[in-house]
């Protein structure tokens, strides 16, 4: 009786833990995929670190007058 009672508590707790961990791992994976995409965007292009997009600052600067 005693052993069954204890292991039941343990079982429920273990299952809750496993489910919680699984959800957390899934969330971690999904988020990391998105974050990795964001952080590496355009970086795989050849010589992307010395390629620049030409823009003008005029508008923002002029707006402050």
């Amino acid at each position: 009786m005693r052993i069954i009672q204890k292991s039941k508590t343990e079982m429920v707790s273990a299952i809750l833990n496993i489910v919680g961990l699984a959800a957390a791992f899934a969330a971690l994976y999904i988020i990391l995929v998105q974050v990795h995409h964001d952080l590496t965007y355009n970086k795989a292009l050849k010589d992307s670190d010395r390629t620049v997009s030409l823009c003008r600052t005029g508008r923002r600067g002029a707006m402050r007058i």
Binding site: L21, V33, V35, D49, R56
Partner: protein
């Protein structure tokens, strides 16, 4: 919005020595067109863009077939390998694409697909941009990319580029720099500083008008923080679980120790058990991710989630999982086997004060994180709702829009008379492109020795009345303006204040001649609420437009069946221009749709944060549940019951313990979330205030759920016959 013009850019590429290659490239997600190999074939969708010849050298395209020697016009395409395969095309083959109508194209070269995770994969074939706009200083609609020589300094290049730009502009316009005073010179200078964004930085650069895909650094950081939160919460649960097991395991482990197991073996078996649990959790996680990918939620992530394409992240997750499993189990196992076994078996080492404080601390951390997440998710949601509901300063009720071909749009009367025969349609107006947009055509115009810089939106004469935008000074457009020689402006209040323009002034229009400023209109939000209202001008081209206004706005009568009106309008438009159903598909949509799309990013973030907040809270509560479960197993309740404590008193005792923890956590969570949300909301020019009620809601919600879980769980333990409870322990 911060596009450049061709003469300036070409001059920079030619004159600055540190340039290795440079050219214009319309990187903008690619316009979707229909393409077919020959008449009668069923068309497929492809994305088209246009590059100048030299832009190909900038990005390091690798040709697998053909050459660029004969690539000179917009009738010749350089195609990606995957698109060529899809259509079964070789170099020299022809295909047709439909935009306004079918155009014959020859494939002159095929290139190896560019990395998926880049702007260069946003199109399938490239046409040659040719010489269009090469000498036009007023066409600020081009995107230029420049590759610098290895080791070239960005600052030096910026300075050199600026000098070249000013030099050429001054020559082209005959401006006299000598006549300017200091302030004018400074402003002039500022207006001409080219701004360079490295290709690797474009994704996160705000508002530079880079046409490619862009993200928001705050969003990425928010997501990363949430991921860490969630994993920390789960980790804490796991540690708590093993710590709670210690008193129960002591007897078992130490008996085995007496029976001859070595300490190493015992610890190893504990760790092994933990690794097994985590492995099961990983299996379950795979199932969850698979379900997620198939659900509508997958749209919240804008990149493929398949495991094969992300093996690095799979490895990282698995590695972290194993680390967690070992870390969580090794300390409790070492602790439990650290005693003299005989001593451990006799005494009650389980109720260890220090261990309990540690566990409470961990639970506290979980509560704090949960409260922060709840507060943040409510604010992100509120901000999105606020932007959707904000009065933008024009009438969005019963408003539909459509985009027509040049041919149709140049015969407004035919379209209007056809559509107005539908009694559900009240009024029609025209504009050049989307009305609310973060970027559009901008003009630089000289005005009293200053440069006027504004966004210009060509419209039909009735547009302002149609949208309900009030004129505060001067007059509205009239039908007669459509026949004007040089165009007519109506500017917004911001432009009036910023530049001191009156309705008496004349400012250069599209033809190069001065155009009348007919009136000043009230300020309204012509871009998303992330941005403040800047100088803006409505414009009527008059007799000789650059291009017809293709965006059609339709106001329906109130209370009509919108879906039916849209269907009828679509049919009417298709009947008017039969070319359109062949390849080019016309659409009719509610105007609100475009506003929704504008805030899609915020909407997605709101959904994601909410999703993971719920997840974090559920995991936290599982932990609380588990802890209460172990606590209520103790003799404590039985002894108290024997000594006459009522069930009510026992419930109060347990609850007050957890309520105290929640309250302390709340006071830690508030400043943290205020800091985080202040940063997030800074990204919007129009934002919700930090409402007090949000904090109250978060507190009440966490308190309520905690009390419910604790009560439910301890009620069971408290109502058991105390004699039985004591005996089992």
């Amino acid at each position: 919005m911060t596009f450049v013009n061709r003469p300036m850019s070409e001059a920079i590429i030619k004159a600055v020595p540190s340039v290795e290659a440079g050219g214009c490239a319309a990187i903008k997600g690619g316009d979707v067109v229909s393409a077919r190999t020959s008449e009668g074939e069923s068309p497929v969708e492809l994305r088209v863009t246009s590059f100048s010849r030299s832009a190909i050298d900038v990005f390091g395209f690798e040709l697998v077939a053909g050459s660029l020697d004969n690539w000179i016009s917009n009738r010749e395409a350089v195609m990606s390998e995957s698109a060529a395969k899809r259509l079964g095309l070789q170099v020299g083959d022809h295909f047709q694409y439909g935009y306004w109508n079918w155009t014959d194209i020859t494939v002159v070269a095929i290139y190896k697909d560019m990395p998926v995770n880049s702007d260069l994969s946003s199109f399938d074939f490239i046409l040659n941009a040719g010489e269009a706009g090469m000498d036009d200083w007023s066409q600020w609609g081009w995107n230029y990319f420049i590759k610098l020589k290895e080791g070239a300094d960005l600052k030096d290049f910026e300075a050199a580029a600026k000098a070249v730009a000013i030099d050429n502009w001054v020559k082209a316009q005959g401006i006299k720099l000598e006549g300017m005073n200091e302030k004018e010179k400074e402003e002039f200078d500022k207006g001409w500083s080219p701004h360079l964004v490295k290709l690797t930085d474009t994704y996160f650069a705000d508002n530079v008008g880079h046409p490619g895909k862009s993200g928001n650094r705050n969003t990425t950081i928010t997501l990363l923080v949430i991921a860490i939160f969630v994993i920390v919460i789960a980790f804490i649960n796991y540690i708590n679980f093993f710590l709670a097991l210690v008193p129960l395991r002591l007897r078992n482990l130490n008996t085995r120790k007496i029976l001859g197991s070595s300490r190493f073996q015992l610890v190893l078996s504990s760790v092994g058990e933990s690794v097994l649990m985590v492995a099961v959790a990983l299996g379950l996680a795979i199932a969850i991710v698979t379900l997620f990918r198939q659900s509508s939620l997958a749209a919240l992530i804008d990149t493929p989630l398949s495991f094969s394409q992300n093996w690095g992240i799979v490895a990282l997750t698995v590695g972290l999982a194993l680390l967690i499993s070992v870390a969580a189990s090794i300390y409790p196992a070492l602790f439990a086997t650290s005693f003299n076994p005989a001593f451990a078996l006799r005494g009650s080492l389980g109720s260890n004060q220090k261990g309990e404080a540690f566990r409470i601390g961990l639970i506290g951390l979980q509560f704090t994180v949960s409260i922060v997440l709840i507060i943040c998710s409510i604010f992100v949601h509120e901000q999105h709702r606020f932007m959707m509901k904000h009065d933008m300063g024009f009438n969005q009720e019963c408003l539909l829009q459509s985009h027509l071909t040049f041919e149709l749009a140049s015969d407004r009367n035919a379209v209007e008379s056809q559509l107005k025969s539908d009694p559900a349609i009240k009024e029609i107006a025209w504009g050049d492109g989307p009305f609310v947009a973060d970027g559009r055509m901008t003009w630089n115009r000289p005005f009293k020795g200053e440069q006027v810089h504004w966004q210009v939106y060509p419209v039909s004469w009735n547009f302002l009345r149609f949208m309900g935008i009030d004129i505060v000074e001067g007059r509205d457009f009239t039908l007669a303006d459509e026949q004007s020689e040089n165009g007519v402006y109506i500017i917004n209040e911001t432009a009036q204040k910023m530049y001191g323009i009156t309705t008496e002034d004349r400012i250069q229009g599209h033809s190069g001649n001065p155009a009348e400023v007919a009136g000043i209109c009230k300020d309204f939000n012509f871009s998303s609420l992330r941005n403040e209202i800047g100088p803006f001008a409505f414009y009527i081209y008059g007799k000789e437009p650059w291009s017809p206004c293709c965006r059609l706005f339709i106001r329906t009568e109130a209370g009509v069946d919108t879906a039916a009106v849209m269907a009828r309008t679509l049919k009417a438009l298709n009947d008017l221009d039969p070319v359109m159903d062949d390849g080019f598909s016309v659409w009719v949509r509610p105007f609100r749709k475009s506003i929704e799309n504008q805030y899609k990013k915020e909407n997605n973030l709101s959904k994601l944060v909410t999703l993971f907040t719920v997840l974090a809270i559920v995991i936290s509560l599982m932990g609380v549940f588990g802890l209460v479960m172990f606590e209520t197993e103790r003799k404590e309740i039985g002894i108290r019951r024997v000594h006459g404590a009522t069930v009510k008193q026992i419930l109060a005792m347990f609850n007050s313990r957890f309520v105290k923890i929640v309250l302390v956590c709340f006071f830690i969570a508030v400043p943290v979330s205020v800091f985080v949300m202040h940063r997030y909301l800074e990204g919007f020019a129009y934002r919700v205030p930090l409402h007090v009620w949000v904090f109250a809601v978060a507190l009440v919600a966490v308190l309520a759920v905690t009390v419910a879980v604790v009560t439910l769980r301890s009620l069971r333990a408290a109502t058991v016959n105390p004699v039985r409870a004591l005996r089992t322990e």
